[in-house]
Amino acid sequence: MAAEEGITLDASRAERLARRYQRLLQDIRELDSVDIDDAEPAVQFRLEG
């Protein structure tokens, strides 16, 4: 949606978003180091007959 609509940022929004994204990048890097070969996704998914 961001690409379609375009995002205009004032300084405080840009700063807040940058801070959030930096945090998210840290989180991503932390999870990169985990061995997941034996783990299936835990997405909730249920089928009814």
């Binding site: 929004r13 959030r20 998210l24 989180d27 999870l31 985990v34 997941i36 835990a42 909730q44």
Partner: protein
């Protein structure tokens, strides 16, 4: 408020009085409405008081009880809802300007079940916008204020529920918990809050935050009261595909057993160094109390707990973006700045990262499963700190300066990731007279045990008998 109906009566005691017709539902509703009018201007717990509807429901309940058609322990009992449960004909804002005018035409399943049980809805409660935060500092409707110190936050996102219960403005409430939003306000406001097992309570008609993490949970003034509410709302709902058909036991009966022989596990490796000293003192004292009741306390290893923050953000952000895509496209300026920034950051997370987090989540679940094969329950403080001041964004614990949100959710969000039941019950007060919460985590669909432990602890202590000055 009427002298004959003290505002802090437990639901269980109030139910006895109603059943025996010592008080009438209309008297009880009027007393609660009077107290809300008298007290809530300082707390801002209620976003909407449905006085006319409440009195009409109370009148119906009164007539039914008088005619001998008593429905059970919630009949005629006044309650209030976090403002994200759909209520037919009653505005439901989710604490947001985006939904400021939204009036649903249907009830959430849990609301319908409470109406069926004869409970009397007093109104809709303040919350963190769209449940996406734990301070309940709401940019649109104002912060909810903690009754123990109105300069401090209630915790959130079900902050209005915590404040209303602590101040005697309802007998019980329903909240939702995605990363701790029932347990955190329960802890910071000094009441009891239960996050049941994922699937235990229907979420049909409950505005979502993140589908794989959201839980509905009762908040009340005791574990017994929470059990009575859980009894009324638990169980399979054909309109919620994630709801479970696991049998619903008699929770109140399960509280009768003691805790002798109970095995308590504590993940000390994750707790030490991360908790304010006064909270740690209360937590250790709570463990000692339980040991005195016959429980044994040992350490358990949960090696992947430190990944919880990263796991949580990698899952909650993309799921919430998906929920909000429509409004973020058309109404972005109507969001408050903190929630908007979270959603915009979530837009930037690649799908593979979300799925990686969901896979690591399995490993965390395996850790909890292994630990709960060794012990019956796991305990932590609910929050590492007492209620922060309104507007505080970071706090220092030990050597570390961290965000209030990260600190408050440290021990609660892992339990959403694994979907297990957890209760927060009061376990002390700081020297500033602020409540401290004890978290008890159990095995899947074993709400009975976590409630039993909380009940036994409450019976052995008197924390729930203290009330705020408001």
């Amino acid at each position: 408020m009427s002298d004959s109906i003290p505002p802090f009566l437990s639901l269980a005691r109030l139910a006895d009085l109603l059943r025996e017709r010592h008080v009438s539902p209309v008297e009880v509703a009027r007393a609660a409405l009077e107290r809300i009018a008298h007290v809530d201007s300082r707390l801002n717990a209620y976003l909407l008081v449905t006085e006319r509807e409440a009195l009409a429901s109370a009148l119906t309940a009164e007539a039914e009880i008088r005619a001998g058609r008593y429905r059970g322990p919630l009949h005629g009992v006044p309650f209030a809802l976090k403002d994200l449960f759909l209520t037919a004909g009653v505005r439901t804002t989710a604490g947001s300007r985006v939904l400021a005018q939204y009036v649903p035409d249907t009830d959430a399943t849990v609301v319908a079940r409470l109406r069926e049980a004869g409970a009397v809805l007093l109104g809709k409660l303040n919350m963190h916008e769209f449940a996406f935060g734990v301070t309940n500092v709401n940019p649109h409707y104002g912060a909810a204020h903690n009754p123990w110190d109105i300069e401090r936050i209630t915790g959130g996102s079900s902050g209005g529920s915590g404040a209303a219960l602590a101040a005697g403005l309802c007998a019980f409430s329903l909240g939702t918990d995605t990363g701790g939003s029932v347990r955190i306000p329960a802890a910071l406001c000094g009441v009891t809050g239960l996050k049941p097992t994922y699937g235990r309570i229907s979420r049909f008609g409950v505005l979502p935050l993140a589908w794989s993490l959201d839980h509905v949970g009762p908040m009340a003034r005791s574990a017994l009261d929470a059990a009575l509410v859980l009894q009324a709302v638990a169980g399979r709902d054909p309109r919620d595909d994630t709801s479970s058909d696991a049998p619903v036991p008699d929770y109140a009966s399960a509280l009768q057993s003691d805790v002798r022989g109970l095995r308590v596990g504590v993940p000390w490796h994750f707790i030490e160094g991360s908790v304010e000293p006064e909270v740690m003192t209360s937590f250790r004292a709570a463990l000692d109390t339980l040991a005195g009741l016959g429980a044994s306390v040992t350490e358990v290893a949960l090696p992947r707990l430190p990944l919880s923050r990263s796991l949580f953000s990698s899952i909650v952000l993309p799921e919430s973006v998906s929920v909000h895509e429509r409004y973020m496209t058309s109404r972005a300026d109507d969001y408050g700045p903190d929630v908007r920034a979270r959603l915009e950051a979530g837009l930037l997370l690649p799908a593979a990262r979300y799925l990686r987090a969901q896979r690591i989540r399995r490993l965390l679940q395996a850790d909890f499963r292994a630990a709960l094969a060794q012990v019956d329950v796991i305990m932590t403080p609910t929050c590492p700190m007492m209620a922060p001041r309104i507007g505080e964004e970071t706090v220092r614990i030990g050597e570390r300066e961290e965000s209030v949100t990260d600190i408050l959710t440290l021990f609660t969000r892992p339990v959403n990731l694994v979907g297990l039941p957890a209760v927060s019950t009061p376990c002390g007060f700081t020297t500033a007279a602020l409540p401290v919460g004890l978290q008890v985590v159990g095995r899947a669909f074993d709400e009975a045990t976590v409630l039993r432990v909380a009940h036994a602890y409450e019976q052995a202590t008197a924390w729930g008998e203290r009330h705020p000055p408001a």
